[in-house]
């Protein structure tokens, strides 16, 4: 008796340790002075301070709350009415059919609910011809939809339990049907309504998957923001926010738990009524305020600019840098006031993507209306050729003259009409962990003789990171094989595929922005990545005590690697073209351009940047790496030869198919898992069969004996 109790206690405690371990990690790192999860440097509250100055996160929090409140209230109203109607339904078949349909969003996997709604919205948006089929409205609809079943399932039983003669009694005493609903039926079902509302609210608050597929450009919820952060680096202020959320929920639950038992009994009726009114009105006030704020913020003159850029591709105000977007807002508000003598609010909605292909999928689907996007060279070419970009009016961009002449006519946009303004350019190189590379290879790198082959070196099995996008990954393979990336034949594509397949067993994981964490944390030895990002990795890793290095791969003594440019463009579907031009113009002025260049470690096409003394001092040795003479002298040649071009459709299709096959097929066929799985399944089936046999035996015996008995 006692033994089992002790065992039970130990077991339960272990289970709770398991459940709370990651949360403890969050809490600890929210108080960690360093921003890396690799090391703990001391106690600090700075992330809590950062949190309250992180406008984007606070805005996401606000959006999440608005969405949760609106969707839960609407779902509760519709759901309560529906429960009333369903309860009164006479026809059983209609009733059960309605209930089954209602439950679909609960039973269906979230991802299917998400994509199914996305398909609907995109399809309808396409028919209607709207510029962006996804937005706040669609995500609100999606949230209401998945909230509805939970509301109905918590309200409907209350209607069923309610004494059927209750409304009759009320009407007998003189209530109209409507009065009887509000005076008698509603109070009877109120507990169900409230719990439904709370459930809907929390579900909506926490939802990621469905929002992820149905959200548009101008709106970011907290889970979505966390998602894009976890692709790169979660800033510890997010830990701080999570800790705050966790603690406040813990306190709320504790209060409600402790008060529910004793004190609520003790509370006089009056006090109960008062608390009810207070709680009710509090919720009402919060709801009203958010709705009002929402309406007001929607109706006052607010200019919103939706910027869709690469992850961590702008100086964002973190750690004493310049918050470029915020600066732009202020700058434009001032400028507008000076020009029109009228106040206006500018709001830059900055969201991020991880690859050109992600960007393309978003733009192509017509799901969102971005005003500024920053695709790479070949993607500019492709978007342009598909008519998804609009021409840029250079007369509205006086700062264009800051762009040095050699970058004004890049191969992908060398027509008379301009569709893009270069933001940065860079070269792909290899970042490596000095402590994980053997001495021979280190010496080779030092001597400038190392090429791509290290990425195929068996010594680094499980330590190599590879691009998680088709173009760059195939590019790496082709450069290493000496294939022309832009004019490869089908056979050469196949060869590149074989090369990647050969590499797959060595690859630890396919990454994009995740590379920062992995390299800085010392998790991997080698990776090909964009030079600027590599340099900022080296910088940060050094702070955490990880020793990284970087080199440009050479083949036969010559640099053979990708050079790329990212450029600001305005999509056809942009809604705020005027503001978009102003934004581009602002980005080319000295202060933000320098801030960005210092933040990004990429090459800048801006003359004011390259010659800026502060910038040169700031970069130190890295200046030479970024603006390497050997490249500088032959930039045109490099762009000509090694930059990616937009591929023709058939090649694109081939590339995507090969990539899909590569990703999907796994050589690391994890047989252990399948064996375990099979064994368990076999045991279960065996057990089922055993039960079945025993049962049949018993049944047969039973009938036989009974027959005999009856004969007797």
């Amino acid at each position: 008796m006692k033994k089992s109790k002790i065992f039970g206690n130990i077991y339960t405690v272990l289970a709770f340790i398991f459940l709370y371990m990651p949360i403890a990690v969050l809490v600890i790192f929210s108080f960690n002075a360093s921003d890396s999860t690799g090391n703990i440097t001391g106690f600090s509250l700075k992330w809590y301070g950062e949190l309250f100055s992180d406008a984007a996160t606070l805005n996401a929090l606000k959006n999440t709350l608005i969405l949760a409140i609106l969707s839960s209230i609407i779902a509760t109203v519709i759901g309560t009415m529906a429960s009333y109607g369903i309860n009164k339904m006479q026809n059983k078949h209609i009733k059960s059919a309605t209930m089954s349909v209602t439950k679909i969003p609960m039973i269906n996997p979230e991802i299917v609910v998400g994509i199914s709604m996305m398909l609907l919205f995109v399809f309808v948006g396409g028919i209607v011809g709207s510029q962006s089929s996804l937005g706040f409205g669609t995500v609100l609809i999606a949230h209401i939809t998945f909230n509805l079943p939970y509301v109905i399932l918590s309200v409907l039983p209350k209607f069923k339990q309610m004494d059927k003669s209750l409304p009759e009694a009320a009407q007998d005493l003189g209530c109209t049907p409507l009065q009887s609903f509000f005076k008698v039926e509603l109070p009877a079902i109120l507990p169900g309504v409230v719990s439904g509302l709370i459930m809907a609210f929390t579900l909506s608050l926490d939802d990621f998957v469905i929002s992820y597929f149905t959200i548009g450009s101008g709106f970011e919820t907290l889970p979505i923001r966390i998602y894009s952060m976890t692709k790169k680096r979660v800033t510890p202020d997010m830990y701080a926010l999570s800790t705050l959320i966790f603690v406040s929920i813990l306190v709320l639950l504790l209060i409600s738990n402790l008060t529910s038992d004793k004190s609520r009994e003790k509370m006089s009726k009056k006090a109960k009524k008062i608390t009810k009114i207070v709680v009710g009105s509090l919720f009402g006030v919060i709801a009203a305020v958010t709705i009002v704020v929402f309406i007001v913020s929607a109706s006052t003159e607010t200019l919103t600019l939706n910027v869709y850029n690469w992850g961590e591709y702008i100086s964002d105000g973190g750690e004493d840098t310049l918050d470029v977007n915020q600066k732009f807002e202020e700058y434009y508000e001032d400028w507008y006031f000076k020009k029109y003598n009228k106040r206006v609010k500018v709001n830059v909605n900055y969201t991020t993507y991880a690859s050109n292909e992600d960007l393309y999928a978003k733009i192509k689907s017509g799901a969102a209306d971005y005003d500024i996007i920053v695709p790479s060279d070949y993607m500019v070419e492709r978007l342009k050729s598909e008519g998804l970009l609009q021409t840029i009016d250079l007369s509205k961009i006086p700062n264009y003259e800051n762009i040095s002449e050699q970058f004004r006519n890049p191969y992908y946009d060398n027509g008379k009409e301009k569709y893009s303004v270069m933001y940065t350019y860079g070269i792909v190189g290899i970042v490596y962990n000095k402590d994980k590379i053997n001495d021979d290879d280190l010496a080779k790198i030092e001597a400038g003789e190392a090429g791509w082959e290290l990425l195929w070196d068996e010594d680094y099995k499980g330590q190599i990171l590879q691009f998680n996008n088709a173009r760059d990954a195939f590019g790496v393979a082709m450069y290493s094989l000496g294939i022309d990336v832009n004019n490869a034949t089908d056979a050469e594509w196949q060869k590149a595929y074989e090369r990647l397949k050969e590499q797959k067993p060595l690859v630890q994981s396919y990454v994009m922005d995740e590379i920062f964490n992995k390299m800085e944390g010392g998790e991997a030895a080698l990776a090909a990545y964009y030079a600027g990002d590599c340099l900022s990795m080296i910088e940060r890793a050094a702070e955490a005590g990880v020793n990284l290095g970087f080199y440009y791969p050479k083949t036969n003594g010559k640099y053979v690697t990708n050079i790329f440019a990212d450029a600001m463009c305005i999509p056809k579907s942009a809604t705020n073209v005027e503001l978009a031009h102003a934004y581009i113009n602002y980005m080319l002025s000295e202060e933000p351009a320098v801030a960005n260049a210092e933040y990004l470690y990429y090459g800048s096409p801006n003359k004011l940047v390259v010659n800026n003394g502060d910038y040169i001092d700031y970069l130190g040795d890295d200046y030479g790496v970024i603006y390497q003479e050997e490249f500088e002298s032959q930039l045109d040649y490099m762009f000509e030869t090694y930059a990616y071009r937009s591929l023709p459709d058939e090649k694109l299709k081939l590339q995507n198919n090969l990539w899909e096959t590569l990703k999907v097929g796994s050589d690391s066929f994890d047989s252990g898992i399948y064996v375990i799985c099979g064994v368990i399944a076999a045991v279960l089936i065996g057990f089922g069969v055993y039960c079945y046999i025993i049962k049949r035996k018993r049944r047969r015996l039973y009938w036989n004996t009974q027959k005999e008995a009856s004969k007797k």
Binding site: K88, D206, F208, F246, K663, V664
Partner: protein, 276 residues
């Protein structure tokens, strides 16, 4: 009377319209996209494409991982639910709260913090290092992916199990002991068969999200263990191939329906209660 019944019909109307527009119509679109090509012409090619060995492997892997995660959840959760149900009512309330509490934090950030725990230079290995134990490679393995699933969905197994077990009349346990059941037999012959309904709903609530998850394996499996969810997500967010993605979703729904049907059939049949 007619006025009244009209009102009743009108009350359910918004929901019915909503359900048709936003529940049924989207599912029709999934089917539509699954059986058409980019130009909207009818085709089976999306489905046949999924019959390639590589996609079949994804389905098999997802099924296996989800199955294992479900089994592990059941094994871990059952004793917890049992011990919880045995505790005092007040303690039970607090324990339930503690089980659900982690769910209030976004699953993305909880999964992300598992990365920090599991990495080769992560927290667990650092702690092991203090005791002089060589680091264990955990992240980017199939085990890590399954761990992520178990972690995220364990509460959904505990709660229904607990609610069923706590409703079992304690007199039944006494009756079983009275008739000669040892404490262990009481569990296998009475508690277990009586909690079948809880097991079914727990298994459903763990299996469905596990088989369709798309974030966990990307983070904890390092992109080496593509699951159905990851592949669907890639079709929609990167590869821009809605048709293939819709076809995969369609097949995913079929797998789930079939799994549920199998489970309900074989657990529902056990009316004689032959659990040895």
């Amino acid at each position: 009377m007619t006025k009244k019944s009209f009102m009743q019909k009108a009350a359910a109307a918004p929901h019915v319209v909503w359900a048709v527009l936003f529940i049924i119509a989207p599912l029709i679109f999934v089917v539509y996209y699954a059986f058409t090509d980019k130009d909207g012409a009818f085709t089976f090619s999306n489905i046949t494409e999924l019959m390639q060995a590589s996609y079949l492997e994804i389905f098999l892997r997802s099924l296996c991982f989800a199955f294992l995660a479900t089994v592990i959840c059941l094994i871990i959760a059952y004793p917890i639910a049992y011990f919880m149900a045995k505790a005092k009512p007040k303690t039970q309330k607090i324990l339930i709260m503690l089980v659900m509490l982690p769910q209030w934090l976004n699953f993305l950030i909880r999964t992300y913090s598992w990365m920090a725990l599991l990495e080769d230079t992560g927290i667990i290995n650092s702690i092991l290092g203090v005791f002089g134990i060589d680091p264990i490679h955990m992240i980017n393995t199939s085990g890590a992916v399954i761990l992520g699933m178990v972690y995220n969905y364990l509460p959904y197994m505990i709660i229904p199990l607990h609610s069923v077990i706590s409703k079992i009349d304690p007199k039944l346990l006494e009756a079983a002991a009275d008739l000669g059941c040892s404490p262990l037999k009481v569990i296998t012959k009475v508690v277990l068969p009586l909690s079948v309904s809880g097991i079914i709903s727990g298994v459903t609530m763990v299996f469905v999200p596990s088989i369709s998850t798309f974030y966990i394996s990307q983070k904890l499996g390092g992109g080496n263990f593509d699951l159905i969810g990851d592949t669907i997500e890639r079709q929609f967010q990167t590869a821009y191939n809605y048709n293939l993605g819709a076809a995969m979703s369609f097949v995913l729904m079929l797998i789930i329906i079939v799994s549920m049907a199998i489970m309900n059939r074989y657990s529902g049949e056990d009316d004689g209660g032959v659990i040895v």
